[in-house]
């Protein structure tokens, strides 16, 4: 494609950055937040002999990461199509 300086190309990149930014907030929240820094605040929520923070550290963050990547791939493919930069 003509290495786009068009409005669309810029809007496409901004849409991508917005999606990445939102995803990385969730990424940081579940791992650095719930599993580490905010664990004392979640200590009141018991789960199987320990607390929610421990669950996020050993299970929850990994599950969230998977959901984030698939969500990103799915949304980006839609955005690619919307802006007409997808591959055939």
């Amino acid at each position: 494609m003509s290495a786009g300086h068009s409005y669309d190309a810029e809007a496409y990149w901004k849409a991508n950055l917005r999606l990445i930014f939102g995803s990385l907030i969730v990424w940081a929240l579940v791992s650095y937040g719930f599993a580490i820094l905010l664990r004392p605040m979640l200590a009141g929520i018991p789960i199987g002999g320990t607390d929610l923070g421990f669950w996020f550290a050993q299970q929850g963050s990994i599950l969230t990461f998977i959901a984030l990547i698939f969500h990103y791939a799915w949304r980006m493919n839609k955005i690619d199509e919307k802006f007409g930069v997808h591959e055939e």
């Binding site: 290495a3 004392p40 421990f54 550290a57 791939a73």
Partner: protein, 588 residues
């Protein structure tokens, strides 16, 4: 059939499979050799990334680390998976669009500088060589334990197998053997874990069993574990930790290190489209998570099993007699990975934490020191024996451990050999080399890399034990920031990128060397490697994240003080951002 024959059958069978795949998937072109022809399905690639990524460390060592550290070592679980989010969103799709064969090639082109490319090649080789030594040594250990050969002989056998499929098939051969190796390793890891989870909690899914009720005691299994180990003076398994800054930085270093490791990144060059690179990252994490969600369950259950083996009547009663120890302890004693010394000469095995706080209790019980030393690495390998599982499960574990080590070794060797043949030989020394000549050069580099890695695996240098510090530190502090800025900033120029990579690297290595010895030579460290000496409590293993920040900052400051990159470079950045047209960029 003897256990030895079963092990030979499983390991031999899996090796024959890998070689058959190699013969079927012979590489005919440099594109085949470097990127498997670029036509790998995203799910196939996801499984290959899973095997590429999950090394002897993930398969053998990680559960042991978690068992020993409990909550504090959750860092490995989050760090080694969270990096895939960064890969999927910040690197993989754009590098796939760029459509070349190696990671240094992108850095060289984007920062229009041969020096930048050379810095990247050096970082790649140091990180990958450190990493590969561990894999080869791990394969040697697995051989010596399960096939009763000398570990050097085991190492040679492993090297020959890798040689056959990696030299013949390049990335193409490696891709399809990695898929087979993924299947072997995940089955081998999961089966014993499911049995143990069923035995202890009645729940067949280990990740759920971890939060279920312990059948024997009626308590949640984690509460039971906490109780048993605190009775013996250990810290609570689920206890929170104080040094959160270090925990955050260590997790971050592992995440961005993971995202910056070249042997993982190049796997994303093998899929046909940019969209496939995104899907691949998701599938890769699904395949990786099957092991990573199980590992913490294996860790806590195996630790509980070990404790109840030693204290069958509870921690308040006497531990077992040494003469009545189970068979698996005897077998591992032979390897030296379990050691018993009867300090109080009562013929029983006292296993507890020799801490000051516990000393009064120990004295009251007539204990004169901890008597059983169990190497963390045997936890997964001994798991089937601890749980009394049938012999074929043990054979499977042997094949699984070897699959994990060999698949990662092959991926690393490919990253090293393509950096040599494509970035050094074609990129610098002889740009006029023909396609055929380059393919031959790639095969020769691969062969040399295997010989060197095998030799280093048999005679591991001091730095081989520093995989986390060296490989992840370098990838985090030098490669990841350079790649990310190359995509997300049009303003960062050659001077900024090189200055950033070098200062990030120098800062990180200096911090590591101050505590671990210059070039890891024992005795040359300036400060003892203890938490009291660490700046702000940041461990040398966690410094890669800070090095990355230094890299970003220096690159931006230097770039803004110097000229903008040329227009064609800004257009290159534009072009990697848009998926359309990635097919054409394959050759050059």
């Amino acid at each position: 059939m003897s256990q030895f024959a079963i092990n030979i059958m499983f390991v031999g069978g899996s090796f024959l499979l890998y070689i058959a795949i190699a013969i079927w998937a012979k590489a005919g072109s440099t594109s085949d050799f470097y990127v498997a022809g670029g036509g790998v399905h995203p799910i196939t690639n996801g499984a290959a990334i899973g095997a590429d990524w999950m090394s002897a460390a993930s398969f053998i060592s990680m559960a042991g680390l978690i068992a020993a550290g409990g909550y504090a070592n959750s860092t490995f679980l989050m760090g080694w998976t969270g990096g895939y989010v960064l890969l999927a969103m910040l690197l993989a799709p754009y590098l796939r669009k760029f459509g070349k064969f190696t990671v240094p090639e992108f850095i060289g082109d984007r920062f229009y500088s041969k020096n930048a490319r050379l810095v990247a090649v050096v970082c790649l080789i140091v990180a990958s060589v450190t990493y590969v030594i561990g894999q080869m040594a791990g394969a040697g250990v697995a051989f010596s334990r399960f096939l009763e050969v000398d570990s050097t002989v085991g190492l040679m056998i492993a090297a020959v197998v890798v040689f056959i499929y990696a030299v013949m098939g390049g990335m193409k051969g490696i891709t399809y053997t990695q898929v087979a190796q993924y299947c072997v390793l995940i089955v081998a890891y999961t089966i014993p874990a499911v049995f143990i989870s069923l035995q202890l909690t009645g729940n067949p899914i280990p990740g759920l069993g971890l939060f279920s009720t312990h059948v024997d005691s009626g308590m949640p299994i984690l509460s039971k574990l906490n109780q048993v180990i605190t009775d013996l003076g250990f810290n609570e398994y689920t206890a929170d930790i104080d040094n959160k800054l270090n925990m955050v930085l260590f997790t971050l270093s592992l995440m961005i290190g993971t995202a910056g490791l070249p042997h993982v990144i190049i796997r994303f060059f093998t899929v046909p489209k940019v969209a496939d690179a995104r899907w691949s990252a998701g599938w890769a994490l699904v395949f990786i998570a099957l092991l990573y969600l199980t590992a913490p369950a294996v860790a806590s259950m195996a630790r509980l099993n070990l404790m109840t083996t030693i204290y069958p009547d509870g921690t308040a009663a006497e531990p077992i007699q040494y003469d009545e120890r189970p068979n698996w302890i005897k077998e591992w004693e032979v390897t030296g990975l379990i050691q018993f010394t009867d300090k109080n000469e009562d013929g029983r095995i006292q296993l507890y934490n020799d801490s000051e706080a516990f000393a009064p209790t120990a004295e009251a019980r007539g204990w004169e020191g901890n008597e059983l030393v169990v190497n963390r690495d045997i936890l997964v390998l001994a798991n089937p024996e601890i749980a009394n599982l049938p012999g074929w499960v043990i054979g499977l574990i042997a094949a699984g451990g070897l699959a994990a080590a060999l698949s990662t070794a092959a991926g690393l060797l490919l990253a090293i050999s393509s950096a040599v043949s494509h970035d050094l030989i074609k990129g610098s020394i002889n740009p006029a080399i023909s396609e055929k000549g380059e393919l031959l050069a790639a095969r020769i580099s691969m062969a040399v890399a295997i010989v060197v890695a095998t030799w280093l695996g048999a005679n591991p240098p001091g730095f081989a034990a520093q995989v986390v510090a060296l490989a992840f530190g370098i990838a985090a502090a030098s490669l990841f920031p350079a790649l990310m800025m190359g995509i997300f900033s049009k303003r960062v120029n050659n001077k900024g990128a090189i200055a950033g990579m070098l200062t990030g690297l120098a800062f990180t290595l200096a911090y590591i060397f101050v505590y671990k010895g210059w070039l890891f030579i024992p005795g040359t460290n300036n400060l003892a490697d203890t938490p009291e000496n660490w700046v702000l409590g940041i461990s040398p293993l966690s410094i890669g994240a800070v090095g990355a920040i230094v890299n970003f900052a220096v690159a931006f400051i230097v770039s803004n003080a110097t000229e903008e990159p040329p227009v064609e470079i800004q257009e290159l950045v534009e072009s990697v951002r848009y998926p359309r047209g990635s097919g054409q960029a394959q050759s050059h």
